[in-house]
Amino acid sequence: MNYILHLLIMIGIYMILSYGLNLVVGFGGLLSLCHAVFYGIGAYACTLLMMKCGLPFLPAILLTILITGICALIVGFPALRFRGDSFVIVTLGFQMIVFTVLYNWVDLTRGPYGIPGIPRPVIAGYEFTTLPEYLIIVWTFLILIAVVLFIIYKSPFGLALKALRDNEMAAEGLGKSPVHLFLYAFVISGMTASVAGGLYATYVTYIDPTSFTLDESIFLLTVLLVGGTGNRIGPFVGTVFMILLPEALRFLGMPDAVAANARQMIYGLTLILLMFFRPQGIAGKYMVR
């Protein structure tokens, strides 16, 4: 039972991440390889605000969103001058840079030692410690964020993003500013990831930089590409598929040492097969360019 609750919590966290990334990848059509950056900044900011500044959970999360939004602005402004391959490479560069900072700024992040003993969220005097309680808080945040994102997906802003994605020159010719619209999308995407980061940190109560590596960014992109981008169902399908797949392997009785590599191999193979047979993802409509 606990095992199932744990899975549901992880699915909740990853759904927040992929719905946010969807705005950039699916609507904006930009392959970003630095989503784990904002996930990580969110986790660290929330942790430090709670532990060093003694803020309660909710104010800490709100401030985390703000801080990560500013970081996303700083990263996005230069990165969004690029398209296609160059955008991928530049976001990858930022991913490597931020990881290096998290890893080596020992005074702030304790670097490779990580931060243990992160307090559980306390809201209105009630502490969320058990798994069912945690499930409730994660899914509440998920629903809130999903509602906000769905409204954005459906809004004129979402349509303008899709227009820019399909043909930037024509969309710009209709008065849409790529600089502004992509930047908004990038910042919103980063902000939502930071919430996932805060939830993750307080859930596992220990964080270190290795949770927010390039591999994690690649994984997040894979989740989205497998599920399908540019709509509401894709991120859900992708997350469920990618989180449950390794668990299925465990049930097949594969030893843990092998399972980790076997799981990764399946991810890799899935990506290749997807590009051959369904480049738009399992439940997607829009095909990656």
Binding site: L31, P78, R81, F82, R83, G84, D85, S86, V88, I89, V90, L92, G93, F94, M96, I97, F99, T100, V101, Y103, N104, E168, M169, L214, I218, L225, V258, N261, A262, Q264, M265, Y267, G268, L269, T270, L271, I272, L274, M275, F276, P279, M287, V288, R289
Partner: protein, 293 residues
Amino acid sequence: MTLLLQLILNGIVNAAIYSLLAVGFGLVYRSLRFFYIAFGAVYIVASYAVFALANMAGLPLLVSIILGLLIGAISGVVMDKSVYLPLEKRSASTGVLFIASLGIYILVVNLVALFFGNEVKILSMGIEPSFSIGTLVVTRMQVVQFFVGWIVVIGFWFIIRKNNLMKGIWAMGETPDLVVVLGLPYKFMRMLVFALSSVFAGIASLLTALDVGIDPHVGMHALLTGAVAVLVGGVDVYRGWIGGAVLLAVLQSIAVWQFSARWNDLITFGILIITLLFRPQGLFSPKRRREER
């Protein structure tokens, strides 16, 4: 001062390896115009092949190395024939190729890890003899790295300038259709690009692995080093690839001297982003890249 000189010396030796990586990555990126992540997978294949042949099957090292490079080259060509070429025939976009390439990388790395384990494998035993030049110390392996690396890279430079097929490969990156129109052997050239790229990756990989060993996950770093060198130096000129590699290696050495090796990635990718922002055609490329829209 001695320390700085020593670090610069190390930098020049590293530059040889970085140049190999840059040429390996650049060949594919320049002629086929997609971000070849699986280069990181090809990189580890050669070393693991040598490890299997020499350390496990007990073949002589030199024979193993030759076979290892061959296996690496074949793996590169097989990847192309099985994935990229069929995708290209469906006129897949660069994004699709990039993701498929990422898939190959993940698949191969973990396949290797499944067979050989995730830990570091040592290819050569014993302590490396070293020489001293004045106050500076050089290991035998560094001497090998320096000479092999630079001879291969500079030798290839001459081949590129003289050989017509190589000129054809160079033209392929600008006008792919032209190659077909001119009746050049497109498929063969493609095969050659992947085989050569793999050999460069293999040489770089072996030079490193014989020194410090190898684990399945170093491929990503090798790929990124090569890619950054090419992009910083300039995609369209061979001397840019080399220039980028040398610049990267020397700057990293200086960074080690000033700060510590832990900040190397910050330097590498900082240079990359700054270059792309302010000189997108690369530092050593004279002409501006075409306006892409």
